[in-house]
Symmetry: C2
Subunit: 310 residues, 2 copies
């Protein structure tokens, strides 16, 4: 932040002091990306022109006041892509190679030989065709899996996905896939996308992976689908309530792998996030166009110009 | 086995009846690849010309009597390559993404955010440049890791490894690697290759992966190296005694991932192993050259002709 402090008055604040700090501020850098403090402090934003968030998903700050304002919203697109892709490949291999049971057996001191699954040739649907979804697709393809996408605009010949299905017709396509990966931005269209009907459409052998947002899923429906054997497992890094409440059945369900919203948080991520903001800050001071400008109606950074929209 | 039973008298036996079954037999298919029964029954082999083993490693049957005989030894080279490569990529990702601790925390109902490692760009040394090592190298490279090999014949420009170091000078090269994968055949030259001096040469952050044979490792040295922090972790699928004895400290050591000699055993492997034998049997009956003929002095199938020797 040193370069920014040399060029601007910087006020650091937690959620409690946000209103006071926001008065008179031209720009706001939301570093705690899950903070819900911004809407409450919004009336104090008397001259704000730019809000940058240290995350890829912008749902926590896409409240009506910001949407209606002229404030430009930018995100940290690109920082997490490859780390999350590695996480997804890791959980796919963990399911196929039965690593969780190996660890449970190891902890119990038991030697139990099992047969394992291959991942090569398995079919993966990545729901969400933004940069994170693309990185997941590239890495899983490199490892021998077959990957398609689901997005807002169905198409064929996509460089990373080949075929992209229409997310609006998700249930029609789900039966074909061994792994279904949720990484769509959270919008009015995607909230609760993975509900009872979606899980019912999946193969009984399918595994569901969520590295997007917890609210993409109707959690009670997911729990029912796992209990009922409609799907074979789930790897969840995000939840509709975080931290995951102590009384959630997910903690103790078999074939469920949990991690605490960390799939993208590689060693060095915090510095990288500040660098992304600092680079945009230099553009802003120089009057240049900002990078990663969110379409506040769509709820994400569109990439139409690259033929790669979500 | 139906095709074979139509063309030959087939006797099925366990270890106890091997001597009786071996008398008068022209060929022996060792299906239980870890069986140590063959040397004891060897005096009964009065007309044996061919021994096929349902494994890649042939160390259990490479006793002096077979070595000195004219009996041709063939193995099941190729069956396990890609499954083992997926296993190795899986454990590498498990270490990087801290999956074992995630599972332990999940079992304890605890939400503890951590930062994770990237695997892209990490340096891997694969010790053993046969087909399994090559498959590991290709898959790990596809996933973004940097891979070199170690084998009997140092060279550069190898299609899968790029640089291949001399296994005889292993300790000199080990300090450069984040992951060291043991997949060499077990021979007099490789027995105990990974000893105190090898582990001392590795990075303190290095992880050791053994998918070859337990006897490649001096197990007590590995345990000392893990306890002393000379290396950061180990994923072990093979052990010098299998099943791993209940009193082995490895069961309960942190940063150790154990699996019961199953890394190559994908669903369908047993059928595939029989198919490999049946294909060679057809060649044998037709008087054609057998595939996967082991050099009984080297202890593995040489691939000089493909420029890809171990």
């Amino acid at each position: 932040m040193a370069g920014i402090e040399a060029a601007a008055v910087v006020r650091y604040t937690d959620a409690r002091g946000l209103g006071e700090a926001l008065a008179g501020a031209d720009a706001l850098f939301v570093y705690d990306f899950l903070s819900t403090a911004v809407p409450g402090a919004w009336p104090a934003a008397d001259r704000l022109r730019w809000l940058h968030i240290a995350s890829a998903g912008v749902d926590p700050v896409l409240f009506p006041g910001l949407r209606a304002s002229d404030v430009v919203l930018t995100n940290s697109r690109g920082v997490f892509d490859d780390a999350i892709a590695e996480y997804v490949l890791g959980v796919v291999l963990s399911f196929a190679k039965d690593f969780a049971r190996s660890l449970d057996l190891q902890r119990a001191g038991k030697w139990v030989h099992r047969e394992t699954e291959r991942v090569a040739g398995r079919e993966v649907l990545v729901v969400g065709t933004g940069p994170i979804g693309r990185s997941i697709a590239r890495l899983l393809r490199a490892a021998g899996l077959r990957v398609s996408g689901a997005g807002r605009r169905p198409r064929t010949g996509d460089p990373d996905f080949g075929e992209v299905h229409d997310t609006a017709e998700l249930a029609r396509h789900l039966p074909a896939y061994d792994y279904v990966v949720a990484v769509a931005p959270l919008t009015e269209q995607t909230k609760g996308l993975f509900d009872a009907s979606a899980f019912a459409a999946m193969k009984p052998a399918a595994r569901f992976v969520n590295v997007g947002r917890g609210e993409l899923v109707v959690t009670s429906d997911l729990i029912d689908a796992l209990r009922g054997g409609e799907i074979a497992g789930a790897a969840l890094d995000v939840f509709d309530t975080e931290p995951l409440p102590a009384d959630s059945p997910l903690w103790t369900m078999p074939d469920v792998l949990l991690s605490p919203h960390m799939s993208g948080d590689f060693v060095g991520w915090r510095n990288t996030l500040v660098e992304v903001f600092a680079a945009n800050f230099r553009r802003w001071v120089a009057g240049e166009p900002l990078q990663n400008v969110v379409d506040k109606q769509l709820g994400y950074v569109p990439t139409e110009t690259q033929g790669a929209t979500g």
